[in-house]
């Protein structure tokens, strides 16, 4: 078992000016499940490949345990990169499907059998070892594929979007299986995905990357409750957080007829660069429906109601058309998302009044995007 350390690790691809990964500092504890998440092209795969030894490190270092592996060959790093694709071979038994990579590596037969049996026990596949994959259910086949990685018994597992080509149902099921398996094995794991829901549900901690730069690392709870900047705020959480550009005056954040009081700490943290503006963030689930007279309430025109049984979400926009542009969300420009009581959802075309629940608003500097104290 081992920890993993990225120490100012940087990768600049030949022919490109900007680093694909820029001075990455990240520590993954022994046994931890760390998820690297971010939009396409942000440098997730590159980071993982640097750790695997498949990509040159142009500056900085990479450590596995206390050992500097920056210049160590991939095969000497004791890590297992889990292939994105894992076809099961129809004529081979489940045991052979799990052990064939060891066979290629020349591991003695008896040891292969032992490792396969150990893995099968963990995966609850012991009684299927001599069967063919065809006799297995979809979920069991998925576990055989995992078994292939487990039998290698590495110090670190690396996984790059292993679920991206599964259908939605199997993806959710496999997600849970991988996460619980990792906890049982206790092997340090770095997992790459672009899907923030996957990150939130699987990781002990999450690292968000954007344009090669680490934005924030933390537990799912921390990422959700205290996003360090506007990017993380908008990226983590589904449906996405609403973000609004407000004018600051009289100690309040103002947008059309809405006036929201700000604390001394927040006001003091603003700088001249912010130009008398502040960015407020509020999640769809942090809004309560209320009435017009309440201070800080917004009128929202309902464009669409999404009913999910236990939840209902309103997709709408600020009733004041000129001010509407100031608000964005994961649903798009000039859009706001509100969670409403699923038993009494409004109708399309209605105007509802909503208010941010006490203590659930986030403040960001428009100039830097950084989080401000509340």
């Amino acid at each position: 078992m081992a920890s993993v350390t990225f120490d100012h690790a940087t990768r600049i691809y030949p022919g490109s000016e900007t680093p694909a990964v820029d001075q990455l500092n990240l520590e993954v504890a022994d046994g931890e499940f760390l998820v690297l998440v971010g939009p396409s092209g942000c440098g997730k795969s590159t980071s993982l490949r640097m750790l695997a030894g498949l990509e040159d490190v142009n500056a900085g270092r990479i450590l596995i345990g206390d050992r500097d592996v920056t210049d160590v060959q991939p095969k000497d790093r004791d890590i297992a990169m889990v292939f994105q694709n894992y076809a099961l071979y129809p004529h081979m038994s489940v045991a052979d499907n799990m052990g064939f990579a060891l066979k290629i590596a020349g591991t003695p037969k008896a040891e292969i059998r032992q490792r396969v049996e150990d893995a099968a026990k963990i995966l609850d596949l012991s009684q299927y070892l001599d069967r063919k994959p065809k006799a297995l259910s979809g979920g069991q086949r998925q576990r055989v594929a995992m078994g292939r990685a487990i039998v290698r018994q590495p110090q670190v597992f690396l996984m790059d979007e292993p679920l991206s080509n599964l259908d939605a149902k199997l993806r959710v099921q496999t997600r849970t299986q991988i996460a619980s398996l990792q906890r049982r094995l206790g092997v340090t794991t770095v997992y790459v995905t672009h899907d923030q829901t996957e990150a939130l549900t699987m990781g002990d901690r999450i690292a968000v990357l954007k344009d090669g730069l680490l934005q924030q690392v933390g537990t799912p709870r921390e990422m959700y409750d205290t996003p360090e900047n506007v990017f993380v705020a908008g990226f983590i959480g589904s449906p996405a957080m609403n973000l609004g550009d407000f004018k600051v005056a009289d100690g309040k954040a103002n947008l059309a007829e809405t006036h929201i009081p700000l604390s001394r700490a927040t006001l003091d943290a603003l700088t001249p660069d912010d130009n008398g503006h502040i960015t407020l963030g509020f999640r769809p689930e942090s809004l309560d429906t209320t009435t017009q007279d309440e201070e800080g309430s917004f009128p929202v025109t309902v464009n669409l109601v999404e009913e999910l049984g236990s939840d209902a979400f309103v997709y709408g926009q600020l009733a004041n058309a000129e001010a509407a542009e100031a608000i964005t969300s994961g649903a798009g420009e000039s859009q706001m998302i509100v969670r409403v009581d699923p038993r009494r959802p409004p109708l399309k075309g209605d105007t509802i009044w909503v208010k941010i629940r006490q203590g659930e608003q986030h403040h960001f500097s428009p100039a830097t995007g950084e989080r401000l104290p509340s």
């Binding site: 691809y13 490109s16 490949r49 498949l54 076809a87 071979y89 004529h91 052979d96 290629i104 991206s164």
Partner: protein, 421 residues
């Protein structure tokens, strides 16, 4: 049909609309399907007859479908041997309103042979070597244009006969990525994936008793790495020599041409004192013979076939004493007097056996064999007649359907159902 069905295609065939998109692919009626062999896959893939040809339909998630479609279009534009994308269909629902997976549609690659069918037929003793060679050529070609495959395997490759050898085509681009230029690490990882997958696939055939003539599957996997590295070196390596040996520049270019590559750009530098020259090919383009034959005759065939045809054309030129004539004129006459009459002499009912260029290659082989037996030259027309009478009828029909013995067919179809997830 529900209004929400969305078809993205460069040139949509209206016949697409008549297919039963509201039914999961696995349950499509037999009479629509073309029973052709496939490689191992995790998604449901079916071949369907449409407008006189065959299309391949794969059920797959929406975003992945669009991505693969776009990548296949890029590869097509760059002239890399790959299956041709037809389109993506999304918004499928069952009659009860259940959403169904999107599909990616490609043209079925005519005369293509999945490796599982090839290996189980004992065609030639060094089958494995030839397939590996073809795959190495394809992988180098993909890497040269900056394509990282991510899932190199025999299942994701299709093979076509190419003048006795094979040429390989990419069939599954789902995990691919296009970059300006690949790093060594990206290429090496692709190779490692290839090695492990190929060995796994061969071990599988071995376990099924379907593998002929292969002693050591691990060795075959390693052969790919070796063949790839040799070719990559030849195409990209920097060479250094004294400035008196300038002939080595043209020698290098000629060597690359012989390998089937054109040099688009060659970097040449000299030392300060001008005594040493360094050369390194920067842009190399596969398909040297293919392009030359295309320019001369308009025939669009594979690299080795083109080489073979060009050789015959050169022989014709010498035999007809026209070494002084323009190459274009000679090519025109060769086409009219040699190639086309030979192909036209193949009866219509036998044309599905082999593509014309491959048939012509076999005719040339046959002519050689007859000449050897007779002890003198044989006119091409006689060779054609003998070939059509004695050889072709016994060949399996390879345009679409492979004739396999029933045991093999059962073994393959047993495993053709998608396996994996």
């Amino acid at each position: 049909m529900p209004a929400a069905l969305q078809i993205t295609a460069a040139a949509p065939d209206p016949a697409l609309l008549d297919l039963p998109w509201h039914i999961p692919l696995e349950e499509w009626p037999e009479d629509l399907l073309a029973a052709l062999p496939r490689g191992i896959s995790r998604h449901v893939v079916r071949f369907v007859r449409m407008s006189g040809s065959v299309i391949a339909i794969k059920e797959i998630g929406e975003s992945v479908a669009y991505r693969e479609y776009a990548l296949l279009r890029d590869l097509d534009r760059l002239d890399v041997p790959s299956v041709e994308p037809v389109g993506v269909i999304t918004g499928r629902t069952s009659p009860t309103g259940e959403p169904l997976d999107s599909v990616l549609i490609t043209k079925h690659l005519k005369f293509s042979l999945p490796y599982r069918a090839l290996f189980s037929r004992q065609l030639a003793p060094d089958m494995a070597t030839r397939l590996i060679d073809a795959l190495a050529v394809l992988l180098v070609r993909l890497h040269l244009i900056g394509f990282y495959w991510g899932d190199v395997s025999l299942s994701n490759t299709l093979f076509r006969r190419d003048a006795g050898a094979f040429s390989a085509y990419l069939v599954d681009a789902e995990t691919g990525d296009m970059h300006q230029q690949l790093t060594r690490g990206q290429r090496e990882y692709d190779l490692e994936i290839a090695r492990v997958n190929i060995i796994g696939e061969l071990m599988d055939l071995e376990a099924g008793g379907l593998l002929q003539d292969v002693e050591d599957t691990v060795l075959i996997g390693e052969m790919l790495v070796q063949r790839y590295n040799e070719l990559w070196r030849e195409l990209t390596q920097e060479e250094e020599f004294s400035s008196e040996d300038r002939w080595r520049v043209s020698a290098r270019i000629q060597r690359l041409n012989e390998l089937g590559y054109d040099v688009g750009e060659l970097q040449m530098t000299t030392d300060f004192d001008g005594t040493t020259v360094h050369i390194q090919p920067k842009v190399v383009d596969a398909g040297h013979h293919h392009r030359r034959l295309m320019r001369l005759t308009g025939l669009d065939v594979q690299e080795n076939q083109a080489r073979r045809l060009l050789n015959d054309m050169d022989t014709y030129r010498a035999d007809t004493d026209r070494l002084g004539d323009d190459e274009e004129y000679v090519a025109h006459d060769w086409l009219n007097e040699v190639f086309e009459p030979a192909i036209a002499a193949i009866p219509r009912n036998l044309r599905r056996k082999l593509e014309p260029a491959e048939a012509f290659h076999e005719i040339l082989e046959h002519r050689w064999y007859l000449a050897e037996k007779a002890g003198h030259d044989i006119p091409t027309a006689d060779a054609v007649a003998s070939y059509v009478r004695n050889v072709l009828p016994d060949r399996p029909d390879e345009e679409a359907i492979l004739e396999l013995d029933t045991a093999t067919l059962r073994a393959i179809s047993d495993t053709d159902t998608q396996i994996g997830s």
